[in-house]
Structures are given as structure tokens and as C-alpha cells.
Amino acid sequence: MSAVLPTRRRPLQPRRIALWVLIIALTAVFAMPLLYMLSTAFKTPAESVSPDFRIWPQEPTLGAFRQILGDDSVPVLRWVGNSLLVAVAHSALTVTLAVLAAYALARMEFRGRRLMMGAILATMFVPAVVMLIPHFLIVNSLGWLNSYAALIIPGAAGAFGVFFLRQFFAGIPRELEEAAIVDGCTQWSTFARIMLPLARPAIATLVVLSFLSSWNDYLWPVYVLFSGDMQTLPSGLRLLQAENTTRYDVMMAGAVIASVPVLALYVAAQRWIIEGVSTSGIKG
């Protein structure tokens, strides 16, 4: 029907101009603070606090980065490693558990399925603050304080991932599975060879979203990590800020180091991140 409608006339010119003025203004609002962070990281201490608003540093220097990398009390590279290790392990664990559980809940018949589904869904409405103190108690009694396990494991069995993937598996036609079984596939090989490859986009989205949430987590690592060399980047930035209250060039260098890995991931996986967020709204 819509194909036969006449193509819409282009809007009037002044409107077009107003639109672009708005878009450019918004771009400045979002990009300028980030550019300023980047440029300050390459300024001298004096220039970093000077009142001239300069995006390109007068005398670009690596001084701030050298200062950070030479200071053993703020082992930033170690924090980068910790953050990477924790976020990769956390998202791998989250997604593995969620894929297996979601597949069983979407495609298998067994006793207690409705009950389990109900229990998992119900916990989606429990506010996160409920978990905070109990997680601390459980992690403490397992002897996991100040360890990677405290960051990787407690948040890995959330309802969201199961819910998200179950919707996806439920949408795949049953005939595909039935054909595979007729062809002699076992339940496991049907899952591994037919269903998993089909679910790749949904899995990629969940991997990226759980990586980001682990990478950016702030409150929890602040309280469960004690030693300087165990910090993740977010909790480490707090130490860096406390140690360099007046050295904004150093703080910005730390912020830049913490941003580069996620921004790189964002550029590479932008589609999945944005699609993951959009679908969470449609399904919610």
C-alpha cells in the first residue's frame, strides 16, 4: 500500500538548517567533555588547570601517563588487567549459564518448569539493593573478599539473561529441531549444532552487555577489594583521585586509560550494544 503513495517532498530549507544546528550543538555537548578529557591528559600540570580553554595542548606531553605508570601505589596497568580478566570471566560465565538454562526452559518439557520460570521471572522485580548486604555476607563466609571470585560469580546468575535468551529460543521454529532429531541428532548436538549458531546475535548482545556492566561496576568493587593491586579500573580511579587531588592531568590520564578499552569495544560492537538496549525496552 505505502509503495504507491507519492514520495514525500523534502522539508523546507530553513527547517533543515535548524535541524543541523541542533545536531551539531548536541554533538558538541556530548563530544566536548570527552575531547577535553583526552586533551587534558596530554597537558602539563600547569596547563591542565589554566583558564585558557584549549582543546589542543600547548606543549603536548606524556608526563601524566609517565607519572601514573611510575607510581607503584596506583598500578593502573594491573587494574586494566584485573578489569579485563573479571569482565571477560563474568560475561563468559553469565552467558554460558544463561544459554543452557534458557534453552531448557524454552524447549524442553520437564517437571517443575513453570515453577522455575516463575521463580526466575519474579526475581526480576526484586530491587538490587536487596542483594548488597547478603552478597557481602555470602562472599565473606566463602572467603572470597578481596578476590576475583567476588567480582565474577555473585552477579552471574541473573534473571535478565535467561529471560532475554529464552524469548529468542522460543521464537525459533520447532521444525528445525524436529528435523535434526529425525536426522539422528542427540539433544545435545541439536542444541550445539543447530540452536546455538542460530542464537548467535542474541548471545553476542548478552556477552557485550554483561561485559559492560561488569567493566563499569563501581560500588561493589569499592567495598569488597582491599589491596591496591586487586582493584578494577573503576574502583582504582577512586584511589587515583584521592592520591592526586590537584593533579587533574594525572586524573584525566587515568580516565583515558580506563576509557580506551570500552570505547574500542563500543566501536567494534556498537550495533549489538544499541540493539541489545533497544530490545530490552520492547520486551520489558
Binding site: 530491587p127 548486604i133 555476607l137 555470602i138 560500588l219 563500543y266 530490545t279
Partner: protein
């Protein structure tokens, strides 16, 4: 969420004749297989999701300082002492609750409406639309720590570029954005909007793209201007998504911690320390598990009530 109808429908059995053979195969797979698939998830789910709910209910009825006090049962005493409004813990907790409430009330309207306007903009046709969408979303992926450290610098009263820019424009240039009230509220809310506007906008945008184009054409034929089309076509179609965004934004705002820890350092004098910040400090720094648990229950209860209220409001508006 759903009406009564689905529960009355018969159990699903698609074409038993055609699929019968395959079905029997599916079932003849070992009966333990589903539990093997579910097992790993269920173990962690039980320990880290179900058990904590019970643990919290239990620990909130103990007098329990981790490492010192064995944790004797005190019934409702923790709740009573919280509600009494007397004593440091109770006073500071309610101060934190007030901070959380103020922040939520100030930020939620902006975080619901500004992203909506941004999504309408991004739903127009123009060159490079997806690039700008990605750009406006970018601050969100940085996480609260980077955003907090960055804005702590940008908003610094003496050396921060925000005041320098204001000065260059002839405006007041010595506002203590991070250490005085009410400027600190402007900072916390403003930075949060800057940080998360893209998140809600992307959710709205997906919903906007689901509105059938024919409806706009029909409204246009009926002579409805852009503003009328927004109110008669767009917004009614966004009802569910608006409700979703309002609820998740309230929950996110009520969980605010990093911004006040890093941008304002909970200044001035703890006046921007949120409820969750105080709960974390009480439980995981002072190790007062009993009181921190009771505080968690109180905050969780407020959040559940707020979500229910929002859902009721939307139901009411939907009927009008």
C-alpha cells in the same frame, strides 16, 4: 501483567499427528537432560539470588556487627530504631533517603522527557543518523567512574573549564558546583542526564520505529499538524515503553551512588550522600549488618511501592 485468558487456554500441542514421531524422540532423550542444562544456573541462582532474599529478611532481625557480635535475634528492634528517627544511624539513613528522593524527583522527569525529544530527533531522516545515535549514546558505555572523575574536574570551582567558560560568557564564574547546595544538585542531575540520556533515547527510538507509518499518513490526510500527530499517534503508541522507561529510570536514580561518591564526594558535609551509599558504608565498612539489612529492606520496600504506584498511574491514564 497479563489478563486471565492465557491460563485458560489448553496446553500447547502443535499437530500431534505430524510431529508425533519426533515428539516421542524429544521426550525419549534422557529425563535428566533438562536438569543438566539448568543445574549450573540453578545452583548459582539459589545461592546468589534466592538465598540473599531470605538472608536479608533474617539478618535484618539480628543485632549483628560482623566479627564482633554473634548476631542475637532482636525481632523488629532494628526497624523500630530506624523508624524512631533518633540516634545517628536513623538520622543519617533518613538524610540519605531524602537525598535519594530529591535526586530521583529531580532527575526522573528530565530522564524521561529529554531522551524522548532526542529520540524524536533521531527518528527524522538525515544523513549520518546512526553515527549521531552512536555518538549520543557513547557516554553511557564509559561507566560511572570515568564520568565521575571527568566531571569532578570539569566542574571544579577554581580550575574547572565549566566555570572558565561561564566566565568567558560574562556569567558568574565562581559557583562551587561540587561543594555547595543547591549547585551540587544541578551537577549531579546534569551529569546523570549527560551520561544516560542516550540509553533511554535508544529504547524510545526502537519503539518509535515500530509505529506504523500508515497512521502518520492517515493523520496527515486528516490535516493533523506535527504537534497533533505527536499526541494522537506517537504518544498513545509509546504507552508501554514510557511506562517501562519511567520504572527503570526510577530504579536507576534511586540506586545512584557513583556520581555522589566521585563528583561531589558526598559534599557538602554528607549532604549528597545517598541512601545506598549510607547502607553500603553501614554494612560493609562499619560491619553493622543488622541495621544495614533493615535499611536495605526499607529502601527496597519504597522502590517496590514506587514501581507499583507508577504502574497503577499508567493503567489509570490508559483508561482515560
Amino acid at each position: 501483567m497479563s489478563s486471565a485468558a492465557p491460563s485458560l487456554s489448553p496446553p500447547r500441542r502443535d499437530s500431534p499427528v505430524a510431529a508425533g514421531g519426533a515428539r516421542r524422540h524429544l521426550r525419549s532423550g534422557s529425563p535428566v537432560t533438562p536438569y543438566l542444562f539448568l543445574g549450573p544456573f540453578l545452583i548459582l541462582f539459589t545461592v546468589f539470588v534466592l538465598a540473599p532474599i531470605l538472608v536479608l529478611a533474617w539478618s535484618s532481625t539480628r543485632q549483628w556487627i560482623l566479627g564482633f557480635d554473634s548476631g542475637g535475634f532482636v525481632g523488629w528492634a532494628n526497624y523500630a530504631s530506624l523508624l524512631s528517627g533518633e540516634g545517628v544511624l536513623s538520622e543519617e539513613f533518613w538524610r540519605g533517603m531524602r537525598v535519594t528522593a530529591i535526586f530521583t524527583v529531580l532527575s526522573v522527569p528530565l530522564l524521561v522527557t529529554i531522551p524522548f525529544a532526542l529520540a524524536l530527533l533521531l527518528n527524522l531522516r538525515f544523513r549520518g543518523r546512526t553515527v549521531f545515535r552512536a555518538l549520543y549514546f557513547a557516554p553511557y558505555v564509559l561507566g560511572v567512574a570515568v564520568v565521575g572523575v571527568l566531571w569532578h574536574f570539569l566542574l571544579d570551582a577554581q580550575v574547572g573549564p565549566v566555570n572558565h567558560l561561564l566566565g568567558a560568557l560574562g556569567l558568574p564564574d565562581s559557583i562551587a558546583w561540587t561543594t555547595s547546595l543547591p549547585a551540587a544538585w544541578v551537577s549531579l542531575v546534569g551529569v546523570t542526564v549527560w551520561w544516560t540520556v542516550g540509553f533511554n533515547a535508544v529504547i524510545y527510538l526502537a519503539a518509535l520505529q515500530e509505529v506504523p507509518a500508515e497512521l502518520y499518513e492517515a493523520a496527515r490526510v486528516d490535516g493533523a499538524g506535527a504537534w497533533r500527530r505527536l499526541w494522537t499517534v506517537t504518544i498513545p503508541h509509546m504507552h508501554r515503553v514510557l511506562q517501562f522507561v519511567v520504572v527503570i529510570t526510577i530504579i536507576a536514580s534511586a540506586n545512584m551512588y557513583g556520581q555522589s561518591a566521585l563528583i561531589t564526594n558526598e559534599q557538602p558535609g554528607g549532604a549528597t550522600r545517598t541512601a545506598i551509599g549510607y547502607i553500603a558504608q553501614t554494612g560493609m565498612q562499619s560491619y553493622d549488618i543488622g541495621m544495614a539489612s533493615a535499611m536495605s529492606m526499607a529502601l527496597a520496600l519504597c522502590l517496590i511501592l514506587a514501581s507499583l504506584l507508577v504502574n497503577q498511574l499508567f493503567r489509570f491514564v490508559g483508561k482515560v
